[in-house]
Chain length 309, copies 2
């Protein structure tokens, strides 16, 4: 095993992901474990590091470690204050929060970002700022070209990048609303299975409509269409997913002009395909971002901070 | 106990409500029990009738019984097909569904209503049609004047009445979305208690804004305001309630012109006060409808059907 020049950690609420990165910035190896911050007791974070990537560290003593994600939240390992938006790789590198391990090495925590919307209400990201830094650094096109990034998930994030810095971002509760309605609501009781039914998904997208308004009213359709045998129970979950994702996309794109470059959808899950379909349904050009955006972000931030060549 | 001229049953998903009604249409006595259709096993409905109002029936053998609500749904006692909207008391009376009890008497079930929205998606009510019939029959003003009725609840209903008939209605999933987010989401974890915090409720209303769009985005504020200590955890649930009710009201009033008469908000719960406040925040005149709208509806439908004088 060749020693890494950098170890990147994307440490979230439910999962731990680690990247062994070479001096050229390429990912040599990746590991993933269900050891998110919710699964780790008290001071167990250093033990997780030893268990999951102890061998990487032993072959490269002193190798810098950069960590991003919910690991820097109040429920994580070390709480790091949010950096205010706009911010890019340089600002993130300057605000890295070093934490010394018992063995003497440093983990450099990447801060999350905060901003306020036009009504003065705060919004936050932790982890996505690193993926977005990686996305824009890795692009072959003009690095100063404006980028719109979408990161689907429990709390979907939309972010605008100008001149290599995140200038705004917004959170949509789409995934979480889907989850609680699917599992705990009267709507969910009429649904069977969670396989993807593309026709039902598209019907949900279509009903979400152009304006995106009226979600509280339209949600009831997930019940009535089943009640009148116009939607199979096996398609109920996909229909609800389409309705919610379609609403998110309609809400988000109504808020500001789109950049000329294709929208970049970041993530490794099938959810990315669903967002690409939802964007296409609105005639918006969108592409799946390259894999390992988080690792690319660790590299660009580490380089800005002088932690690797 | 004077014998009733009519027994009205408002039999829903979670509760059983019965009205002993005199020949002049006045409610002589009301009873309520936690014996909704979800609590009744198999053929237990007739036993519930005997247990809850057997004494009423014995003093007035042959007294007609009119029943409305989810008792006529597939999960209820006797499934009654929906009547298509527009419909008023006369159409409901003509469509009463008689069901003979073992003792020979009839229960007359009131059908629910169905309609389709402009996209052809169905919507339904069961029980509210009777309350609305009672509301418009009991009004001292011109019975042909247009009425907008709002029935807050797990599934809030808005309905337009013209010439004494329900000409449209819509369902909003507001109460259910509140419930699942309060109990099962990350938002709910930051909330403590369910007491009404009027200031927090008003802040939620205000943030819902005029257009009502962007709910999926705005929901995240219920988390971030707590995170930045700008909302007490004790006010979290009221804030979320205000945000959701404010969004419902904004969505609903944007869809069609308001009638000149005050909006009638129907129900016995504190939720009615919250809807009155939300409507007032939008400068919409609204009043609490008289109590026992369901019983008034049973009377007007029974009279149309010739079941009582």
């Amino acid at each position: 095993m060749s020693g890494p020049a950098l170890i990147g950690l994307d440490w979230g609420t439910t999962s731990f992901r680690a990247f062994r990165i070479g001096a050229d910035g390429a990912v040599l190896e990746r590991r993933e474990a269900p050891a998110g911050i919710l699964q780790v007791q008290d001071d167990g974070f250093e033990a997780v590091l030893e268990r999951e990537i102890g061998d990487w560290r032993r072959v490269a003593p002193g190798c810098p470690i950069v960590a991003s994600g919910m690991i820097t939240s109040r429920q994580g390992w070390v709480e790091v204050p949010y950096l205010h938006c706009p911010a890019g790789a340089h600002e993130l590198a300057a605000a890295l929060h070093p934490h010394r391990l018992r063995e003497g090495e440093l983990v450099h925590f990447v801060p999350g970002l905060s901003r306020e919307d036009e009504e003065g209400v705060p919004d936050v990201i932790r982890g996505e700022e690193t993926q977005i830094a990686g996305l824009t650094a890795g692009r072959s096109t003009d690095p100063d070209r404006d980028v719109l990034a979408v990161l689907p998930g429990t709390h979907s994030k939309w972010a605008g990048v100008e001149g290599g810095r995140i200038v705004w971002f917004e959170t949509y509760l789409t995934g979480e609303v889907f989850g609680v309605l699917r599992l705990h609501s009267i709507l969910g009781r009429l649904m069977e299975g969670d396989g993807h039914d593309r026709d039902a998904f598209r019907r949900g997208l279509a009903y979400a409509g152009e304006g995106g308004a009226g979600l509280l009213r339209r949600l009831f359709s997930a019940r009535t269409l089943g009640l009148f045998d116009r939607l199979p129970t096996s398609g109920g979950a996909s229909y609800l997913s389409g309705l919610l994702i379609g609403t998110e996309v309609a809400e988000a794109i109504a808020r500001r002009p789109l950049p000329t470059a294709p929208v970049q959808v970041i993530g490794g899950s099938r959810l990315v395909d669903h967002y690409l379909e939802a964007l296409a349904a609105c005639d918006i050009e969108a592409v799946r971002a390259p894999d390992d955006a988080a690792a690319r972000g660790h590299v660009v931030i580490a380089r800005c901070a002088g932690l690797m060549p």
